[in-house]
């Protein structure tokens, strides 16, 4: 694309896990390119290998086949160019909100004054003002995930990888966190790769939605979502927009096909015929 290097390039990726009964194929061959400033969401049935793909991009697992590049450089392990927001609680219980968010900056050797300025801005952006000196166990689940998001943003990575980051919070909080994330991305213009099994979440957040097949997963469809104005990133206008609803239905159909296929292929014997 106009000679620019892709932020992330996945070429011919395929992965197998070792199990006691031999290798298990986690994914089929996957090719993927993410450009600077894009928000790409990946939606697929559970167990399809989407977390495996994300972990490989993060550098936590070595691909069985294929190559992964970040900014044109091959990925050999985790690094600060690829920030990760995990599904489960991954902020440090022994650091306050402020010290968790500033951790990446401390590691990078940022000057304290500069660090405090960046941390204060992010605390404002994710709505944690007044909680700077609290420890994670004193916060709600939603607030902890806000800290996790802000910590990754503060380290200023090239790409941010998010693995179902809002799966563990309650439904109402999730809506707020999704809106905040959309606003945060619009403000900071970050490149994000976001994994979910929520169809509406994928369409609401993504500029581009990728749909994966069941295990061993491959990317079976790619749906572009028209750019929304930064101000229009809220659930009320999203659900009222017929164009967005049409895209949701399209993605839902693609995902449901996979569920149906799983039922027939894997659980065929237990399906009760309609009377």
């Amino acid at each position: 694309m106009s000679g620019a290097v892709d932020k992330i390039e996945v070429a011919g990726f395929r992965h197998f896990f070792q199990s006691e009964s031999g290798p298990v194929q986690a994914t089929s061959i996957i090719d993927l390119r993410i450009q600077a400033g894009e928000f790409v969401t990946l939606v697929g049935p559970s167990g399809c290998g989407k977390t495996t793909l994300l972990k490989a991009i993060a550098g936590f697992i070595k691909p069985s086949e294929g190559r992964i590049f970040c900014n044109g450089r091959p990925v050999t392990g985790p690094g600060r160019d690829r920030g990760v927001v995990f599904q489960e609680l991954a902020i440090l219980p022994w650091r306050t909100v402020r010290r968790n968010i500033g951790h990446g900056l401390d590691i990078a050797g940022t000057k304290p004054a500069e660090r405090d300025r960046i941390v204060a801005r992010l605390i404002d952006l994710v709505g944690l003002r007044g909680f700077e000196d609290r420890y994670p166990h004193e916060l709600s689940g939603g607030m902890r995930q806000r800290v996790a998001v802000a910590r990754t943003w503060a380290a200023d990575p090239d790409v941010i990888l998010m693995d179902e980051p809002f799966a563990a919070v309650d439904a109402m909080t999730r809506l707020t966190l999704q809106e905040e994330l959309a606003r945060l991305c619009a403000t900071t213009n970050k490149t994000v790769f976001f994994i979910t099994h929520g169809v509406e979440e994928a369409v609401f957040l993504g500029d581009r939605v990728l749909v994966m097949t069941r295990r061993p997963g491959r990317i079976k469809a790619e749906i572009a979502v028209p750019r929304r104005t930064p101000g229009g990133r809220d659930w009320e206008s999203f659900t009222a927009d017929p164009e967005m609803q049409a895209i949701c239905e399209q993605v839902l159909r693609l995902v449901r096909e996979e569920r149906g296929a799983t039922l027939v292929a894997g659980d065929g014997a237990s399906v009760v015929p309609a009377a």
Binding site: A58, R82, W94, G104, P136, H137, R151, T152, A155
Partner: protein, 274 residues
Amino acid sequence: MTDTPRTPARARLGRLVWRLLPFSPILIFGAAWSIYWNVAHPPLAVMPSIANVVGAVIELAQSGSLLTDILASLWRLGLGALLGIAMGVAAGFVTGLNKPLATFLNPLLVFFNAISGIVWLPLMIGWVGIGTGLAVFLIWNSVFFIVFQNTVLGVQLVPEVLEQSVRTLGAGRWETIRSVTFPGALPYILNGVRSGLGFGWRALIAAELVGATTGLGQMIFRAADFSRTDIIVAGCLIIGMIAMAMDRWLLLPIERRTVQRWGMVARSEGGRPG
């Protein structure tokens, strides 16, 4: 926060009750002892009264031998425990971070754990002779293995996702150990130190019974020759009280400032966190 609003005075009373609660078993025990002694009047060679014990403490304190014995015991315990804790934590980290090494060392650990410290006594008397070295070795031997095992466990139980998340922030191996593994393992390390100190006291007294000329263990041993149960009981009480004081004023403050503050263990007193 409790459901019913409380007046400051009642809250203060509540805190006072909480603070006195740990002392009440001691009072109950003392009362039961006094009642029994006043009813049964056993001879001193069998059981002393509280007054006998207090008298013995005063007598020993005035002669100066009590202070000498306490300091001798504390010096041995401090040296042995410090060596045991430092080496146990260091070795525990190396082993906990290295799975093949942990697997390799496991049978050895079970082997040495089964051999209680006292068994080493006859051998060690031949090797290092009678004196501080013997006591320090026996204390080290009890503290090291407990701290080591707890540290290994603590290091291995730190959630992997915490280490991974910090590595994506750019942390290298050393920064990961410093900011994730050590605080993550701290509840287990402190638990190991607490048990280790308990076993360290037992080893100390056992070592002093046989291989020392001073110390609380030796004081008790000498008293046994003269059937001075008042001194024996006084010695036991002093050991127990020093151990309690160390726990309360050394270990608890560390716990309160770290693992309790971080919400990793339940608070031991003063109501529940909000």
